[in-house]
C-alpha cells in the first residue's frame, strides 16, 4: 500500500507527500503522538505530489513527517444484520461500544456483533443464476425480513454452488458459495462493504414516486403529501419547530425502517431520541420504535469532516435496506450543517468561493445526494424505497441562500416553516401557501390516491388551498380597512379559512391522540371542514361571525382530541351539527 509523510497542517486539512498511487476519496490513517494513535482521513484533492486529506478528528499535536498509510479503498460502511436499533457516529462506529465518557480520537470499532447467532432461512437454491443484490437468504432482524444478498460489488452473473440449510449462523460464517462465469468460487457471508459516496444501483428501474407515504401529519398527508421514495425538505429559522416536526414524522411514518441522521445538531436532541424511542410504540406494528430505527449521530461538537461523511453513511444504509424490498425513511437534520462542513473544507483548500463562501458545486452535490432517494423495482420484481426528508437551517431565516436554493431545485416537497406562524403558536408552523408537493400534480399519484381514498380528493385539497389563499388576502384587507371597513361576507370567508387552519393544518404533536391522524380520519375531517366551508350562513354583523366560527373551531378541535368515532367524538359531532343548523342557510 502507498505510504506518505505529513507535509503541512491547517486545522483538519493535512498535506501529505506520498510514495505511490492514491485515489480520490481514498481512506488513509495518520499516526500521531507518542502512542502513534491512528487518525482516519480521506483524500479530497491531489496536486502534483501533494495529496490533501481531510482528517475526521482533531489534528492536535500532529507534526510534519508523521507517517500516513493509505488503505486502497474509499470510506466504506459495513452492511449486515444487526444494524437496527444501533447508535452510530458518522463513520459508523458503534457509540455504545466506546468506553469513555468522552470521545477519544482514533478509537474505532466494528459496527456489528460478530458473535450473535442469526436464524437463517435460504431463499436461493443450488443452481440458481444470481447477480449483485440477489437474495440468497433471509434472517429475522427485529421482525424485519433482513435479506442476505450477493454483495453489491460483485459484477456479472454467478451460479449458486451451495447454500447452507436453515439454521443459526454468525455474520461471518459462509452461508453460500457462488461460482462466477470463469468457474471461480466465491464464499458469501452475511456482511458486505460498500463505499458510501457511491450510490447502490442494483435495481431494475426507478419510476416516478406515486404511492402516498402516510405520516399522520395532516398538513403533510392532506395538504402536501410526500410519496414513498420521494424527497422533501423542511427549511425554517430556529425556534419554528423543525425538530418537533421531524420527530413526529420519524415516529409515525408508515415505513419499515427509519434512519435518523443527526447531522451537526444539538446533542440533547439526539439524547431525546435515545431516551424516548426505546419506550415509544410504533403506531403501525405496536412494537418499540427503536426496533426499526438506526441513529447516525454526528452532533455539532463532533468532528466536522465526519459530519459530511454521516449523511452518506446514512444514505448507504438506507439503500441497503431498500435492496431488501423494504420501505426506508431517511431523515437528515440538518443538511445545512453538512453544507457548512463542505464550506469549511473548501475554504481551507483555498478554492474560489461561490455565494456566501460555499463551494461552487454545492448545488450539484446536494442534487446528487437527493437523487439517491427513490422508489425502485428490484431485479427480482419486488419494490423498495428510500424516502428522504432533509431539514435546512437557513442563515438568518432567509430562504434566498445557497443551501435552500440548491435544495429547492431537487427536492419535490417543500415544507416552509414560518416564524410568524410559530410566534402565533400555530403548529406545525408550515406555511400552507408557500409550501408545495409536486407529487400532487403527478397523474400516477392522482390515480393511486383515487384508488386509496376517492377521485374527489385532489379536487377537494386544491379547493382547500384556494380558501386559504383567499382567507389570507381578506385578512390583509381587514388589517388595512378595519373590521368595520369590509362587508360581513368577507369576515365569513376569512373565518372559513381559519377553520381549515385550526382544524386541518394545526395539530398538537404533544397530544396522544391528535399527534397521529390516520388517513381515514384525515379524509373524514377534510370532508367535514369542506362541508362547513361550502355552506352559506346568516349573520347580522362581524362580531357574530367571529363568535360563531370560534365555537365551530372549538368543537372541531375537541373532535381532533377525541378517539376517532368514540362516544365523545360523536357527541361533539352532534353538537357541531346543531350549531351548524343554527345559522346555515339551507340550499
Amino acid at each position: 500500500m502507498t505510504q506518505g509523510k505529513v507535509k503541512g497542517i491547517i486545522a483538519n486539512l493535512v498535506t501529505v507527500a506520498v510514495d505511490g498511487p492514491v485515489s480520490q476519496n481514498e481512506i488513509a490513517y495518520i499516526s500521531v503522538g507518542a502512542n502513534a494513535t491512528k487518525l482516519m482521513a480521506e483524500v479530497i484533492k491531489v496536486t502534483g505530489e501533494n495529496v490533501y486529506v481531510q482528517v475526521f478528528e482533531s489534528t492536535r499535536g500532529l507534526k510534519v513527517g508523521d507517517n500516513v498509510e493509505f488503505t486502497g479503498h474509499m470510506l466504506e460502511v459495513t452492511l449486515g444484520p444487526g444494524l437496527l436499533s444501533r447508535n452510530y457516529d458518522g463513520l459508523q462506529n458503534d457509540l455504545d461500544k466506546l468506553t469513555g465518557v468522552f470521545l477519544q480520537r482514533g478509537e474505532y470499532n466494528f459496527p456489528l456483533d460478530k458473535e450473535k447467532l442469526w436464524k437463517f432461512e435460504p431463499i436461493a437454491k443450488v443452481g440458481d443464476k444470481v447477480e449483485a443484490a440477489a437474495w440468497l437468504g433471509e434472517v429475522d432482524e427485529n421482525h424485519q425480513p433482513h435479506k442476505i444478498m450477493v454483495p453489491f460489488v460483485m459484477e456479472g452473473t454467478y451460479t449458486v454452488k451451495s447454500i447452507v440449510a436453515a439454521g443459526e449462523y454468525k455474520i461471518e460464517d459462509t452461508i453460500a458459495v457462488i461460482t462466477d462465469e470463469e468457474g471461480n468460487d466465491h464464499n458469501i457471508t452475511m456482511v458486505q462493504k460498500w463505499p458510501v459516496k457511491k450510490a447502490i444501483l442494483a435495481y431494475k428501474s426507478k419510476p416516478r414516486p406515486f404511492k402516498l407515504l402516510e405520516t399522520g401529519v395532516r398538513t403533510i398527508d392532506t395538504a402536501n403529501p410526500i410519496c414513498e421514495g420521494g424527497t422533501g425538505f423542511i427549511p425554517g429559522p430556529f425556534g419554528t419547530g423543525k425538530t418537533v416536526l421531524q420527530h413526529a414524522i420519524s415516529k409515525q411514518a408508515e415505513a419499515d425502517i427509519v434512519i435518523i441522521a443527526a447531522c451537526g445538531e444539538r446533542a440533547n436532541e439526539v439524547v431525546e431520541t435515545f431516551t424516548e424511542f426505546p419506550e415509544l410504540d410504533d403506531p403501525h406494528t405496536g412494537r418499540k420504535l427503536m426496533e426499526r430505527t438506526i441513529i447516525i449521530a454526528n452532533t455539532s461538537n463532533m468532528p466536522v469532516a465526519s459530519r459530511e461523511a454521516s449523511v452518506y453513511t446514512s444514505m448507504t444504509i438506507a439503500e441497503y435496506y431498500r435492496s431488501m424490498g423494504l420501505r426506508v425513511l431517511l431523515m437528515a437534520d440538518s443538511t445545512s450543517r453538512w453544507a457548512q462542513a463542505l464550506r469549511e473544507m473548501s475554504n481551507r483548500m483555498e478554492e474560489l468561493p461561490g455565494q456566501d463562501a460555499f463551494p461552487m458545486d454545492l448545488s450539484a452535490i446536494i442534487g446528487a445526494f437527493y437523487a439517491r432517494a427513490g422508489y425502485v423495482y428490484l431485479n427480482n420484481g419486488k419494490i423498495g424505497s428510500v424516502t428522504f426528508l432533509g431539514t435546512v437551517s437557513p442563515a438568518g431565516g432567509n430562504l434566498k441562500e445557497p443551501v435552500t436554493e440548491g435544495t429547492k431545485k431537487v427536492a419535490r416537497c417543500f415544507y416552509a416553516l414560518e416564524q410568524a406562524r410559530a410566534d402565533h403558536k400555530r403548529y406545525p408552523a408550515v406555511n400552507p401557501i408557500d409550501s408545495y408537493s409536486k407529487y400532487i400534480e403527478y397523474p400516477e399519484f392522482a390515480e393511486y390516491i383515487s384508488g386509496l381514498i376517492d377521485d374527489k380528493w385532489i379536487g377537494q385539497v386544491n379547493e382547500m388551498k384556494t380558501y386559504l389563499q383567499r382567507g389570507k388576502e381578506i385578512q390583509e384587507q381587514i388589517n388595512i380597512l378595519g373590521d368595520d371597513g369590509v362587508p360581513v361576507d368577507y369576515h365569513e370567508e376569512f373565518w372559513k379559512s381559519e377553520v381549515i387552519d385550526f382544524v386541518i393544518l394545526q395539530q398538537d404533536a404533544f397530544d396522544k391522540i391528535d399527534a397521529v391522524c390516520p388517513l381515514e380520519r384525515q379524509r373524514y375531517m377534510l370532508d367535514l371542514v369542506m362541508g362547513i366551508c361550502h355552506s352559506d350562513y346568516n349573520f347580522d354583523n362581524f362580531l357574530d361571525v367571529i363568535d360563531y366560527f370560534k365555537r365551530i373551531i372549538n368543537l372541531c378541535k375537541q373532535m381532533n382530541y377525541s378517539e376517532f368515532h368514540s362516544e365523545d367524538f360523536e357527541n361533539y359531532q352532534k353538537k357541531l351539527n346543531e350549531l351548524l343548523a343554527e345559522k346555515q342557510i339551507k340550499a
Binding site: G8, G61, V101, G239, V271, S300, N347, P353, A395, G482
Partner: protein, 441 residues
C-alpha cells in the same frame, strides 16, 4: 525559561497584526510557543514554515524574536484550589494569589459521547419569574441572553448565578469592561459566595485575541468540577459576540475567505464546540452537570446577524430583555424568549398547573398587545381589550420584571390571582379541573 528539550528559533519570516511565521521543525499542530515572551499558538504548518497566532498581538515583535515551542497545547492546572480565584485568559492568577497546583489538562478537549449523556431534567430556579415561570431553565442546558449592549444583562446574569442552587459558578468574561469586571467581583464578594466561584477574565484592556482562550479555560475548569467532583456547575459566558469578533479577526489575518457578515465559515462549529460542553451526566457517571448561560449582544436588535443566528441554532432557546415603557422596568420578553427544555420540568418538577397557567398568561398578554395596536391605530376598544391592558400592566410588574424574586409556587398563585381579578374562567381557557382547583374566588 527554556528547558532542555525546547527548541529555540530566531528567524521570523512574516509578521501580520495577529500572526507571525517562521522556519521551524518538529512542531505539533495546536502547540503553544512564546514569541519574545508573548504566548502564541501554532495555527498552520506548511513544510518547515510554521504560522503562530500571537494572543497579545504582534506589536513590537522583531524579525529576530526568540521563539520557544512549549511542546503542549493550551492547558490549565485543575484542582479544588481553583475555587474563589480570578484568572486571566492564560489561566494565570490576577488576584495576587499563588499559582494553582493540580493536574494539568489540555483545554478544548474532546466531546462527550452522546450516548453517555442523560436527558436534562433538573430545574434551575432563579427567582426571576420571567425566567422560572415562562422559560424555565434546566441543568445541562445552554441558553444565551440576546441583548442590546445597553441592557442590564450582566446584572441579571449575576443575580441568576447567585440564586441558582449550584455547586460552582464559573465566570468567563470576554471583553468585559473594567467596570463590569469589578461589578462581578464586588457582587460575588458581597454575597459571600466567592468560594464557589471561579473567574477567567479578559477585559477590554487586554488584547482581543486573548479572549479566544476564555471559553475553553472556563469549560476545562467546569469539566473538572462536573466530571471529577460530580458537581452541578453553572458557566457564565459574557459576551460571546466579542468572542466571535476575535475569531473573525484571526481568520481575516490568515487570509480566510469570510462568509456571512465577515464571520469565518467555521463560526457554527466554533460556537457549537463551546456550547455543546453543556451536559447532564447520568448517575453512573456521578450525576454532575454543566449549564451554560451566555450573553450575545446584538447590534440594533438584529437577530439575523451571523453571530446570534448561528447561536440560536446551537443553544436551547434564548432569553430577551426589553424595557417595558408601561411600567418603566426591564422585563424578560415573554414572546421572543424561549427555553426549549422547559417542558422537561414544568408541571413535572413544578406544580401541575404550571404549563397551562404559563400559556394562558402569555396568550392574554398577547391579546393585550393586540389591544394596544388597536388603540394606537385609532380603533375602539372593547371591555375585554381594556381588561387585557390592565392585566398586562400588573402581569408585567409582578411577574415579568427582572427585579422579581419569588419561588415558582408564588408565581403561579400570583397568576391565578390576576386571572380572577380581570377575567372570567371561560376567557382564560384553562382545563376545567385546574380551574376548579386553583381559581381564586
Amino acid at each position: 525559561m527554556a528547558k532542555a528539550f525546547q527548541k529555540i528559533f530566531t528567524e521570523i519570516t512574516a509578521i501580520t497584526k495577529a500572526t507571525c511565521s517562521l522556519k521551524a521543525e518538529g512542531v505539533g499542530n495546536d502547540e503553544l510557543a512564546t514569541v519574545n515572551g508573548k504566548l502564541a499558538q501554532v495555527v498552520k504548518i506548511m513544510g518547515d514554515e510554521v504560522t503562530l497566532q500571537v494572543f497579545q498581538g504582534t506589536e513590537g515583535i522583531p524579525t529576530n524574536a526568540e521563539v520557544v515551542f512549549l511542546g503542549k497545547a493550551p492547558s490549565l492546572k485543575v484542582s479544588d484550589q481553583l475555587a474563589g480565584r480570578f484568572f486571566n485568559a492564560y489561566g494565570d492568577p490576577i488576584d495576587g494569589g499563588p499559582a494553582v497546583e493540580g493536574e494539568e489538562v489540555e483545554i478544548g478537549g474532546p466531546s462527550v459521547n452522546p450516548v453517555r449523556r442523560k436527558q436534562p431534567s433538573e430545574l434551575i430556579a432563579t427567582g426571576i419569574a420571567g425566567i422560572d415561570l415562562n422559560n424555565t431553565l434546566v441543568s445541562g442546558q445552554k441558553i444565551p441572553f440576546f441583548a442590546d449592549p445597553d441592557q442590564p444583562y450582566n446584572q441579571v446574569m449575576a443575580n441568576v448565578a447567585l440564586r441558582a442552587q449550584v455547586d460552582k459558578i464559573i465566570l468567563g468574561g470576554m471583553g468585559l469592561t473594567n467596570d463590569d469586571y469589578l461589578y462581578f467581583k464586588n457582587v460575588f464578594a458581597n454575597a459571600g459566595v466567592l468560594d464557589r466561584i471561579v473567574s477567567f477574565v479578559n477585559t477590554t484592556e487586554n488584547p482581543a485575541v486573548e479572549r479566544l482562550l476564555i471559553p475553553d479555560m472556563a469549560l476545562a475548569a467546569a469539566e473538572y468540577f462536573a466530571v471529577q467532583k460530580h458537581q452541578k456547575v453553572l458557566v457564565l459566558l459574557t459576551d460571546m459576540t466579542l468572542y466571535a469578533d476575535a475569531l473573525a479577526i484571526v481568520s481575516n489575518r490568515m487570509d480566510q475567505i469570510p462568509s456571512k457578515d465577515s464571520m469565518p465559515g467555521s463560526l457554527y462549529s466554533d460556537l457549537a464546540k463551546i456550547y455543546e460542553k453543556a451536559v447532564q451526566f447520568p448517575e453512573e457517571a456521578g450525576g454532575g452537570s454543566i449549564t451554560i448561560i451566555a450573553v450575545t449582544t446584538l447590534s440594533g436588535g438584529d437577530i439575523t446577524h451571523a453571530i446570534p443566528d448561528n447561536t440560536g441554532y446551537i443553544t436551547e432557546g434564548q432569553l430577551y430583555l426589553r424595557r417595558d415603557s408601561d411600567i418603566g422596568k426591564v422585563i424578560v420578553d415573554p414572546f421572543r424568549s424561549l427555553s426549549r427544555l422547559k417542558q422537561l420540568v414544568s408541571g413535572k418538577k413544578t406544580r401541575e398547573d404550571h404549563p397551562q397557567v404559563m400559556n394562558a398568561a402569555v396568550r392574554l398578554y398577547a391579546d393585550a398587545a393586540n389591544a394596544k395596536t388597536k388603540l394606537e391605530n385609532g380603533f375602539d376598544l372593547t371591555d375585554y381589550d381594556n381588561r387585557c391592558l390592565d392585566f398586562a400592566k400588573e402581569y408585567s410588574n409582578r411577574i415579568l420584571a427582572i427585579d422579581v424574586n419569588i419561588n415558582t409556587t408564588e408565581m403561579l398563585d400570583i397568576a391565578w390571582e390576576l386571572f380572577a381579578t380581570y377575567f372570567k374562567p371561560e376567557e382564560v381557557n384553562i382545563k376545567q379541573a385546574l380551574v376548579d382547583k386553583y381559581w381564586k374566588k
